[in-house]
């Protein structure tokens, strides 16, 4: 810090730079990364536990409240995490402005569609529709 300068770090951050956004993405990527660790372990245990079981048993187990909630949290956390991750990859390698915008849109559509379809299936299994 230059002594005697009146501007504070907050004042410099308020402009938010060329990206027009702050550290939300960086933070959200870490937040979901931490959440992903126990959720992935739980997901692997659930999948291994369901191997070789028939459809009726799988529906019953996946639809039970605890398993369904864990699966919903897993889907929410991984799709949020993967959307940010793919956005970083696109921004790193795609420099054509139009192509970049199209891919960033497609990235969000993909993440939301996969997340919503999975969540919908879990809810269907829970409510035995």
């Amino acid at each position: 810090m230059v002594a005697g300068k009146m501007s504070t770090p907050l004042g410099r951050v308020r402009g938010l730079g060329a990206a027009r956004s702050g550290t939300e993405q960086f933070w959200r990527q870490r937040l979901t990364a931490v959440a992903n660790v126990p959720l992935i372990i739980a997901f692997v245990l659930i999948v291994v536990g369901l191997l070789g079981r028939n459809h009726a048993a799988v529906v019953q187990i996946l639809g039970s409240p605890l398993v369904a909630v864990i699966m919903l949290l897993f889907i929410l956390s991984i799709t949020t995490h993967m959307r940010i991750g793919m956005q970083v990859i696109i921004e790193d390698y795609v420099h054509d402005e139009t192509a970049k915008l199209v891919l960033l849109m497609a990235n969000t559509f993909f993440a939301v569609a996969v997340g919503l379809a999975s969540a919908f299936a879990i809810l269907m299994l829970s409510f035995k529709v």
Partner: protein, 136 residues
């Protein structure tokens, strides 16, 4: 008005390929590759869940694909990518605290990630096969 000068040919900074490959560099690339693979791997998770919610027939279809040779290879790759990206992510979280950047620490962390991801993948598959044998 002065004529616009042709841009000066400036030297570019060398890209990845000019450097001698190191373990930590390779791990960084693999973290990105496994992340991108898992991105598309979620389609399998969604397909599996939707099939389970749809009908016994649809679920059987997923089952027969997953148990085919191609299906098993994809699932094995998915398992390893998941474990590798998870352990690599933990490594990044350790780095986020400012620790683990020393020359020995970062090499150790890289080796631990590889050994850990391969070991976990093998353990998951052994347990998986035991479960399938038990439940059938």
């Amino acid at each position: 008005m002065a004529e616009t000068k042709a841009p000066v040919e400036r030297p570019l900074s060398p890209h990845l390929f000019i450097y001698k490959p190191t373990l930590t560099m390779t791990m960084s690339i693999f973290h990105r590759i496994t992340g991108a693979s898992l991105y598309f791997g979620t389609l399998l998770v969604a397909w599996w869940l939707i099939a389970a919610a749809s009908s016994p027939n649809a679920y059987g279809g997923v089952g027969s694909f997953m148990s085919s040779l191609v299906g098993r290879l994809i699932l094995f790759g998915y398992t390893w990518a998941l474990m590798h990206h998870m352990l690599g992510g933990i490594r990044h979280l350790i780095w986020d605290t400012g620790r683990g950047f020393g020359p020995h620490e970062r090499e150790w962390l890289a080796v631990a990630t590889i050994v850990g991801s391969i070991s976990l993948t093998i353990v998951i598959w052994i347990v998986g096969y035991l479960f399938m044998g038990g439940a059938r």
